[in-house]
Amino acid sequence: MSTLRLEHVSRWYRNVVAVNDVSMTIEPGVTGLLGPNGAGKSTLIALMSGFLEASTGTVTLDGEPLWRNESVYRRIGLVPEREALFDYLTGRQFVVANAELHGLEAPGAAAEWSIGLVEMTEAQDRSISTYSKGMRQRIKMASSLVHDPAVLLLDEPFNGMDPRQRMHLMELLRRMGADGRTVLFSSHILEEVEQVARRIEVVVAGRHAASGDFGAIRRLMTDRPNRFVLRTSDDRALASALLADVSVRGVLLRSEGGIEVEAADFGRFSEVLPRLAREHGIRLHEVTPTDESLESVFAYLVSS
């Protein structure tokens, strides 16, 4: 059982702050590192895997510093985001080489085990240059698991995988976490994270925006104010009916037609809207959320 700990970690590149005073503890089990593109997830994973020096603060694995400490790689398996591999090798040769570099006593058997784990046995003797994006991802995974590490760090591991491969990897990560390994993976897709991780760390613009159980963060995200544009058969009548309900914070009649609604309670609003429309005999032509982008969800989390 291993624990990764970041304490007041910042990292900047000249004038650009990539990670800003982040403190978090990654314990055994599966943790999702969630954030929009450019939030600093890869920088955090580089810091946690000893591939980047913190400008300030400390990053440790079971109390040992990670920076300039090769011995920690006995306990860490890293799956980088970048796709480049040793394309001139076959998948099996690549995983065996990784096992040899770890100094394993039986590199062939270890490679066979980890290749089987990611279901790449059939394609293991093909050159990596012929692999699809998903196959590359899986052979990277096999190479990082070959020494049976206590800590597994994965940077955007689901990128490029088809749904079946995605399900399989999710199951594998869940199993790794249940076995007592410390598994951390980054993603910018909430639904991806919620299927695997019970614990989530949210980063936005280099800051640690939220941390904790998945359910609590999901509630924070869904309970935020939501904006919708509605096109109806009678905008004014529906606007006044909606304003009377507590789930709605404000309504604006748009000059180009339709109404803009800010809902304070998304759950209640989704029930009230069709009921009110039916009661008043109003036809709903269009209901469009206007700020559903992930960035707006994260921005809300930061401000809360």
Binding site: A39, G40, E70, P80, L85, Y88
Partner: protein, 237 residues
């Protein structure tokens, strides 16, 4: 100190790219030009020595070292695949020494051995000349490998900067300004050739040349390992 796995991967990576073909082409051109000189001027000691120095020591040896060393490090650093070597519990100096062993072996095969052949083509009755230049090429090549390895971990433009350095400093200024010999790997290699081949190439003490060459080999290797130990590898963010 040397990892057989990294050596094996290094050999595969050099000959898995087009650069491997260039490494084969350079000695062929070198021996071909030596044969041409022999055909034009005959077995003439001065012409033989000038060809082996001007073409072998100044051009072929350093170019082979540059191509081999940068092929082993620069692409992996560029595309990030070096992380598969670095995320292992092995000393960074073992990684560098293993890669340098491959680069130095390439220098032996594609520069030192061709130097012996070229020497024997130019002056068949003077094997000492060929062997002297071969030793100079070997030692100079090792120093160039260490220097270019360091360059590969410092800059992403190692090949271009290495070529500019070879052309301007070693090639152009080294021939024009006598003082450059004190800071020129090629001239140090020439100084090592002198007592072995009994020729006069550059006025520089052999001891100085040996110490300077060893300093570059050891210093370059150590600094490259040190740099790899603090290697920053970040994603695309």
């Amino acid at each position: 100190m040397i990892s057989p796995t990294i050596v094996r991967l290094g050999i595969r990576s050099i000959f898995g790219r087009r650069r491997g073909l260039l490494l084969v082409a350079l000695p062929v051109v070198f021996i071909g030009l030596a044969a041409l000189v022999r055909g034009l001027v005959g077995a003439e000691p001065k012409a033989a020595s000038d060809t082996l120095e001007g073409l072998g020591l100044v051009v072929i040896g350093p170019l082979v070292a540059l191509l081999a060393t940068t092929a082993l490090l620069a692409p992996e650093i560029d595309d990030g695949s070096i992380s598969y070597l670095l995320a292992k519990p092995i000393s960074r100096h073992t990684i560098v020494i293993s890669k340098l062993a491959v680069a130095a072996s390439c220098t032996v095969v594609f520069a030192v051995v061709p130097m012996v052949f070229a020497g024997l083509v130019l002056l068949p009755d003077e094997p000492a000349l060929a062997l002297g230049f071969a030793v100079g090429c070997l030692v100079g090549g090792a120093a160039y490998c260490a220097l270019f390895a360091l360059l590969s971990v410092i800059t992403r433009h190692a090949v271009v900067i290495g070529l500019i350095y070879l052309l301007i400093w070693e090639g152009l200024l080294g021939g024009l300004l006598a003082g450059v010999r004190w800071l020129s790997i090629t001239r140090w290699a020439s100084a090592l050739v002198e007592p072995l081949a009994d020729v006069e190439l550059v006025r520089l003490g052999t001891i100085y040349a040996v110490v300077a060459t060893l300093t570059v080999i050891c210093g370059g290797t150590w600094l490259t390992g040190r740099r790899l130990r603090a290697f920053n590898l970040t994603g695309d963010e």
